[in-house]
Amino acid sequence: MYKGGEGYWSWIFHRITGVGVALFLFIHVADTFIIGWGPGVYNAVTSLYRNPVFKIAEVILVAAVLYHALNGIRVILVDFWGEGVLKQRSIFWAEVVVFVILFVPTAILMLSRL
């Protein structure tokens, strides 16, 4: 494993969360499609999502979307704001702080309704 810095790790997470969110989109399109077989089938399939395993998966999904969005802003700053490329390390750590502030209460809220 190459020992990269903040830029390297931020990119790896960006890839993983990007692929993860895209995968979810496919599942989501598929489950919405099931409505074509009538409400009975649809409700039976989507009731699966009330299973605790899916609830936890939902929290992970929120984390993935949130990280991908925040890091996307970092990439935009690097690309379009001249200074961004020199401050990418600080922007990454600011991003981590914002992530924790937004994610922790959200996760607590979601899991308390398990």
Binding site: G4, G5, G7, Y8, V75, V78, D79, L86, Q88
Partner: protein, 232 residues
């Protein structure tokens, strides 16, 4: 102090695949990995292959993967590395022997961006004048020693060897933003191709690896914007 070096070795004429070998040498904290490699080749195993010329960080011969990062062996101190150090050849280029890689693909990418002054005007009698501000515009990218530490640290390059890579872009930048040069557009066309700057995902491994402290990603981003806004 005693230091252990774990070196990835490969002789394509003998070995079917690379293998690790450990050596122990006596070294000072102020010694460099290059000194230890010399110790090994001169007194322990004369078959160890590595490349170096200046031994002072200016020729760019001895970039290698040291403790997981690309560095020059002649600038990597044991004081910063500890007493157990792994050494591998650069990634993404064919290994010729042990720590020596074939630099030809790297130099081919360098040549592809026309890294020389192009100016079709009648040459002036004296020098081509330039203001200090105009010179400062590309100062950073004049410092490159073509060691390949940046290009071979780039995940984009690892998966796509046709990517021209950070070093070629740095050296294109050096002329694109030079007021005396007239071929900026030609170079921007080359770098706007599918194997040019858009393969850069701003991972910053190149910037972190550059032994000359060049802001490599900054140079790449400046070239990207010059292409996007069609303005140098």
């Amino acid at each position: 102090m005693k230091v252990k070096l774990r070196i990835k070795r490969f002789n394509p004429q003998k070995d079917r695949k690379p293998y690790w070998q450990e050596f122990e040498v006596e070294a000072e904290k102020t010694d460099r990995v290059l000194d230890a490699l010399h110790q090994i080749r001169w007194y322990q195993d004369g078959t160890l292959g590595f490349r170096r010329s200046c031994a002072h960080g200016i020729c760019g011969s001895d970039a290698m993967l040291i403790n997981g990062k690309n560095r020059l062996a002649c600038k990597a101190l044991f004081a910063d590395l500890g007493d157990y150090v792994t050494v591998e050849p650069l990634r993404g280029l064919p290994v010729l022997k042990d720590l020596i890689v074939d630099m030809e693909p790297f130099f081919a990418a360098y040549r592809a961006v026309k890294p020389y002054l192009i100016n079709n005007d009648q040459p002036p009698l004296k020098e081509r004048l330039q203001s200090p501000e105009e010179r400062a515009r590309f100062d950073d990218t004049t410092k490159c020693i073509l060691c390949a530490a940046c290009t071979t640290s780039c995940p984009s390059f690892w998966v796509n060897r046709d990517y021209l890579g950070p070093a070629a872009i740095v050296n294109a930048h050096r002329f694109i933003f030079d007021s005396r040069d007239q071929a900026a557009e030609e170079r921007l066309d080359i770098l706007a191709s599918r194997d040019g700057v858009w393969r850069c995902r701003t991972i910053f491994n190149c910037t972190d690896a550059c032994p000359r402290g060049i802001q490599v990603t900054k140079a790449i981003e400046e070239v990207k914007r010059a292409i996007m806004y069609a303005k140098v």
